[in-house]
């Protein structure tokens, strides 16, 4: 398992980069982004919904709640990224997918 410091560094980088990408796209697609106490929130008005992305240090995972589902991503040494093992998506790909589904239009970050 990744050691705690490494996990925190990777998680911080992944969330910061995701946050930057989301802020860039927020106005185009009409959703709100907040980054509070280490957790990233994505809020939609129509239809209303709130997705949350947060790191979980004890288990070295990033947890995503979206579309009434729980997604848990592990660090992949080969890909050098957080990967959702069931779909093989990276964090950014997963977020693109769930936002696209929510807004019913193709979203790219």
């Amino acid at each position: 398992m990744l050691d705690e410091q490494d996990f925190k560094k990777h998680a911080d980088e992944a969330l910061t980069s995701l946050h930057r990408a989301l802020v860039g796209a927020a106005d185009d697609y009409g959703f709100d982004v907040d980054f509070n106490a280490g957790a990233l929130g994505i809020e939609f008005e129509d239809p209303p919904a709130k997705f949350v992305v947060s790191p979980n240090t004890p288990v070295r995972q990033i947890w995503v709640s979206a579309l009434a589902k729980s997604y848990k991503l592990d660090w992949d040494v080969v890909e050098n990224a957080f990967i959702h093992s069931e779909s093989g998506d990276t964090l950014k790909e997963l977020i693109e997918k769930v936002i696209s589904k929510q807004l019913k239009e193709e979203v790219s970050l």
Binding site: V59, W63, L67, A68, S70
Partner: protein, 486 residues
Amino acid sequence: MSPVRTDQEDLRRFGYAQELFRSMGGFSNFAISFSIISILTGAVTLYGYGLEMGGPLEMTLGWPLATLFTLTVAASMAELCSAYPTAGAMYHWAADLGGSGAGWLVAWLNIFGLIAAQAGINYSCAQFILPFLGMASTPRNLLLMFAFILITQGVLNHWGVRLVAILNDLSVTVHIAGVVILVAGLLFLAPKQPVNFLFQPINSNGRGFYAWAFVLGLLQAQWTYTGFDASAHMAEETEDPRRHAPWGIVLSVAVSGVVGYLLLISLTLAIRQIPGVLAAKDAEGNAIPAVIAILGTALGAKAGNAMAALASMAMWFCGLSCITSASRALFALARDEGTPWAHLLRAVNPRHGTPAPAIWSIVIASIAAMVWTKAVPIVTSLSTVALYLAYIIPVWLGLRARRARSAWPASAVWNLGRFGPAINAIAIAFAVFICFVLIMPPNELAGETLAGLLIALAILYAVAARNRYKGPKWSRHEVAVRESNV
């Protein structure tokens, strides 16, 4: 995957790493709760109370009645434990099913209840041990012996759960062998009352209304049946906890019920006359526990002494396991940042795999409680009522969630099937009733202490915890998942 790896994967779903040392099998998980229930301790310290209130019928009818109803509480808890096999136990069940405030309240009721139970039992243990060493029972000696007992238990808990498990397995043997020898001795060697003596409803403290005296006498059983949540607190240290921990909860009550019944019936049949047993005094004029008095007259003074020795051992095992259980409850709350100095209290000793700071906090809190209050009854009166509240609040929240079609019962491998709601309802009604009886005179001190604790907790929550403590992370994630789509 090895079984322990599977258990670790299961724990990861709750967002926790395997920090505690997982090595307990099903028997040891049962043994820890069985040691805390401790029928030998309960029989020796509480038999006189039950006999005084309800006479022989209290044993013959009261004990099995209380056992059956307690089993509904245990079975309801077992099902929740199977769905949430974490060290937090009732705290986590309540937090997920009722929100962070409910979880926080249950956690502290549980922790204070266990500290109180443990302080009470270890104080009794000190009272029993001093005469064996030929020391006078002065307040100073009692306190020193009490602290010494606690430190031995703290050191063993610190060194490892394996050691505690071995001692608990031994404790089961001591309890069962002890009861078998006593029962055999009483049935074969002592003069016996005719069987119809067992059905006599006799109140010996002047209560006009026998039915109420009988109900008050049920507390003999209820004070004994506490602490079986230990099996749930050991979930992160037990192999296949979704099966073993629930069985530990239920079987510890069931086996204590059967073995305890044998003991109580044999003791009751050996009574020469009830007033003599209740008024027994030693050479210096100190009251003798009823059970020791019965054994003394039935089998001789040596049998009485042997019983006292057996009871002191049982009490020590009970105190040892209470610390194990309480430390896991405190550790689990600290891990979720629900206590002051959480980052210190949540630490796990890497060499032994035990929550060492939590263990020593419980030891120090117990000694401090005794030194400051100097009032054993205040401390001990709290334990059963606080624990039963901590047991039943999550059961009630679980039943409420079940009615709202929550998914939690689906994840309980050990479950009550379609009887779940009915058993939950009986358990809740019984626990509410017993909590009421627990604070009625002559035990109003328990009610006053509980009221004080609840007020203190409410103030603490409003002032300090509400804004800082948000509940376990995994539970908040589950809430976020439910609310992520409308």
